[in-house]
Symmetry: C2
Subunit: 239 residues, 2 copies
C-alpha cells in the first residue's frame, strides 16, 4: 500500500486526498494527468464530494486545472506578483554582496508627513534608521527607514540586524503589501559625498510604505546611484 494513504489517520479525509495528490503531481510537467476523481474515490474509499473538495483546493491554488470531459491536469505555474523585498535580499538576488553602514539609529518624534505615512499621530515616538548601503563594496544607496516603535519593542536596544526585512520576518511582520513611488533626480551635495559621486549626478529616489495586514511596518526613502541601479518590477498575476 502507498504509505501516504496510511500517514496520519487523524487528518481530515479531504486533506489526506489533497496532500496525496499534491505529492503525486509535484514535479510533474504541466499537462500531466492527475488521477481522475472516481479513481481517488476508489483508492481512498471516500465520497466523490470529498475528492472534489480536495481537488477544488488544488485548482484554486493553481496547481491543477480541470478540463471538462477530459480530466484533471497539472496546470502551467501561475506568474505571481513580486515578493516584496528589501535591499539585502534584492542585492543578493543580483549576485552582489550587500553591506550596510548605520549612519543613524535613534528614537525621534514623528513629523506630520511620516506620522501620516506610518499611521501614527504627530509627535509619537518612532525609530529613524539611516544607512549607507554598499553592493560589492561600492556605495549603492542611502536609505532612511522610519519604523513604528510599538511594533518593534526593544529594536534599538537589541543591536541592529543586517536585514530589516529578516527582522520583520522574525516578528511575523513581513510586508505583504507595498506602496512605492519612484522619481529621477540629481544628488544633493551631502548625498553625492556619501555615495562617492559628483554632485548633481543622476539618482533614483525610491519611497516605500510597507504594510503587513493592517499595520504599516515600514516607511522609507532611499536614494540610489543611477549609474549602478536599475529598479525591476513585476506587475499583475495570471487570472
Amino acid at each position: 500500500m502507498d504509505e501516504l494513504l496510511e500517514a496520519d489517520g487523524r487528518a481530515l479525509k479531504h486533506v489526506r486526498v489533497r496532500e496525496y495528490v499534491r505529492n503525486l503531481v509535484s514535479g510533474s510537467a504541466p499537462g500531466s494527468p492527475a488521477p481522475s476523481e472516481r479513481e481517488l474515490v476508489q483508492q481512498f474509499g471516500v465520497a466523490r464530494m470529498t475528492v472534489r473538495q480536495a481537488m477544488d483546493a488544488l485548482v484554486v491554488e493553481g496547481l491543477l486545472e480541470r478540463i471538462p470531459g477530459r480530466g484533471t491536469f497539472v496546470a502551467r505555474p501561475r506568474r505571481t506578483a513580486s515578493r516584496i523585498t528589501g535591499y539585502t535580499e534584492e542585492m543578493t538576488r543580483r549576485g552582489m554582496l550587500a553591506e550596510s553602514q548605520t549612519l543613524l539609529a535613534r528614537r525621534e518624534q514623528a513629523g506630520p508627513g511620516v506620522a501620516r505615512a506610518l499611521s501614527l499621530t504627530e509627535g509619537d515616538a518612532l525609530i529613524h534608521w539611516r544607512r549607507l548601503r554598499r553592493a560589492d563594496g561600492v556605495p549603492m544607496c542611502i536609505e532612511d527607514a522610519y519604523l513604528n516603535e510599538i511594533l518593534l519593542p526593544g529594536f534599538l536596544q537589541s543591536g541592529m540586524p543586517t536585514s530589516l526585512y529578516d527582522a520583520l520576518d522574525a516578528r511575523g511582520l513581513r510586508p505583504t503589501w507595498a506602496e512605492d513611488s519612484i522619481q529621477a533626480d540629481k544628488a544633493t551635495a551631502e548625498e553625492a559625498q556619501l555615495l562617492e559621486v559628483e554632485p548633481l549626478t543622476s539618482v533614483l529616489r525610491h519611497s516605500r510604505r510597507a504594510i503587513c495586514g493592517d499595520k504599516v511596518v515600514e516607511v522609507s526613502r532611499s536614494v540610489y546611484r543611477a549609474d549602478r541601479f536599475t529598479l525591476w518590477v513585476q506587475l499583475g498575476s495570471d487570472a
Copy 2:
C-alpha cells in the same frame, strides 16, 4: 417574492444563489452578516452543498469570510496588485488630459534585443510606434512601442488609436502581466528638444514587457520628464 429568485430560471442553481448573495451584500460594510447557509437552502429550495458551492466561490473571490460557529460575513476588501495601465489611463487617473502625437508608425525588422523581448526571431516584421505624449498640453514623455504584427493584423492600416491599451483590450489582449525596469538618467539632446527641457535634465526611463497569457503583446521604452512625473507602484496582495 424577490425578483432575483425568479430571474433567469435557466441559470445554474449555484450561480443563482451566488449572484443573489453578491447583490445582497454588495455595498454592505465589512463584517455585515450574510444569510446563513440553511437560510438560503430554505429560500431557494436547494441542497446545502449547492449553497456551499455558491458561497465558496464568493469566499475565494474575497467577498465573504466564514467564521465557524458564528456565520458568514462580508470580508474586508482585499488589496490587489495594480492594474496594468498605459499612459492614457494613468494620466486620466491623475486628473490630467492625456494627448499623444505620433512621431513614427511603421513596419520594421526586429533587431536582436527587441526580437528576444517580443519572442520573435531577428528580422521578423514588427510595428514600431513612437509618440510624444503630453499631459495637460505639456510634454511628459516619449514612448517607443514595439508590437507583434501577427497579433495585431491591420493595426497600422486601421488608423492608430489614442490608447494602445484600449486597442489591445478590444482584441482581448489586455496584458495581465508586465515586467518593468526603471532607471534615472539625463535627457539626450534629441529627447530634450522633444520634451522641451534643457539637455542633461533628469529623466526617468521606463521599459516594459507586457504579456497576456503566453503572448508578449507590447515591448516599450519610455522616457519621462523627471520634473513632471513620479511613478507609483503597488506591490503584493493580501493572502
